[in-house]
Amino acid sequence: MNFPTQDFAALAPVGILSGGALILLLSEVFLASTRRGYQASLTVLFSILAAVAAAGGGSPGVIFNGQATVDAFSTFVTVIVCAGLALSALVGAGWLRARQAERGEFYALALFGASGMALLGSATDLLFAFISIEVMSISTYALAAYIRRGKKPAEAAFKYFILGSFSSALLLYGTALVYGAAGSTLFAEIGRAQGPLLVVGLGLVAVGLSFKVAAVPFHVWTPDVYEGAPTPVTAFMAAGVKTAAFAVLTRLALVAFQATPASAANSFAWVLAALALVSMLFGNWLALTQRSVKRMLAYSSIAHAGYLLVGVVAAAAAGAREAALSSILFYLASYTATVVGAFAVVAVLERRGRSLDEEPADAWDLERFAGLGRKRPGLAFAMAVFMVSLAGVPPTAGFIGKLLVFQAAISAHAYGLAVVGMLTSALGAYYYLRVVVYMYMRPAEDREIGLISPAIQVALALAVVAVIVLGVGPETVSKLARAAAAIGM
């Protein structure tokens, strides 16, 4: 067997991301000074390079005996992950600098996490997917515990770690059963297997992945972890982890949907439909009562996992498969831009205690947004755009994303899911628009907002532009998403 040079070349984006992480680690050794501004710029540079390498690398297809597939789908996922990484790094730069906590390790871990996500986007083997998930998860566990002031961050990291490694164990045991049923862990082989072992194994794998995408009833960790983790890390988790986990879930669901006994494929689709339904209902319902905007965004991310699952379920119908896959990809792109932007605003407005360890209970309270429209019109406008997009109101990216997902669901004859999706979106509009009401119609609290760091300003501007461009002229990206969806079928 020859050394697979070309196969390694296909993974160039991952090489760039992890190589960048090493450079940032070394920079902390050799270039450490009080000025660390270059680190965020380097991170953004590496993520742009990785995205360019992914986009320019073409689609060599199956590599490493089928364990990974570099195609338009994985390229699309890699580009979304890189965009999420770059935006979160910019938010992180501003947030950490304000707390004198900027270190190269932060960016290095984020880059490592992104390389895990990029690997996961191309994984077509359960074992390789498991290892990629671990690369992604271990970086995010460490990032969640990166800054430990007060009690919340360490506890968030701990909760994330215990439930994350528990779900990994479920996923691994499921993989073991699937290996027994199919004689291999390759997706291509799993599609040809059958029998009760396969059903139980795939069920355990699906439960493990549901933990990762935060679908109800496997969501219990999400609000606590999202609230306790440092805000830029939360943004990275909401954007990157969700995108990568949905990428592998989608690929695996396609395998399961094409399984030979139709009954097994059907039951898999029903289970996913049930998860989608309860995620949409509970996510939106629990978000309604939240006064902490950060926690509200955590619950809303559960609801968005539900909408994305509707897209996955729609892919079960062969006729709607292409539309469903492209809608998932478009939704992930729009959600990444929107949610990182929203967390950027939360990061700016976050209240800090007088001492390092003080944790004000109202750190992310709605009151913090009162009167923002008059005091900081730019910031308020950005937040309004993100909220409108999360609510799914035109002319924003979130609207097009939801439209595409529900269209796919209707063409797959999943009318119930589409209707519930639309109704819960209307419910969701209430708590998203409440933030807008607070910003523009409530009198301002008498307090000063510090200067917004230039890095966060850049991130906000990019996110606003992305959300509006994707909303007004979605053709280019949706065409790319359609091209990316034409695979694996």
Partner: protein, 100 residues
């Protein structure tokens, strides 16, 4: 010769014991050990299926699982130390600032 179903049933028992420990124990370290038990159940399953089919892919997978367990243990125990420093306890009921 011991049939493969014996090994598989043993692995399922270990997995269930680990699962029970994760849902019922309150000490962070013991919960973590139960997760290790679940990973070992998966390894035993991989090896039993590998032996049953006569190929060695399961052995390579078990090798990776041991490496993953080591990586998880390193970061997990670091987090345990961090939480003990801020809290002074490893009892899960005490660790609940983030509830509600």
């Amino acid at each position: 010769m011991v049939p493969s179903s014996y090994y598989l049933a043993l692995a399922a028992i270990l997995f269930s014991i680990g699962l029970f420990g994760v849902v019922s124990k309150r000490n962070i370290l013991i919960v973590f050990m139960c997760i290790e038990l679940m990973l070992n159940a998966a390894n035993l399953t991989f090896l039993a299926f590998a032996r049953q089919s006569g190929n060695m892919a399961g052995h390579a997978i078990a090798f990776f699982v041991i490496a993953v367990a080591a990586a998880e243990a390193a970061v997990g125990l670091a987090i345990v130390i961090a939480i003990y420093r801020t809290r002074g306890t490893l009892h899960m009921d005490e660790v609940r600032v983030l509830r509600d």
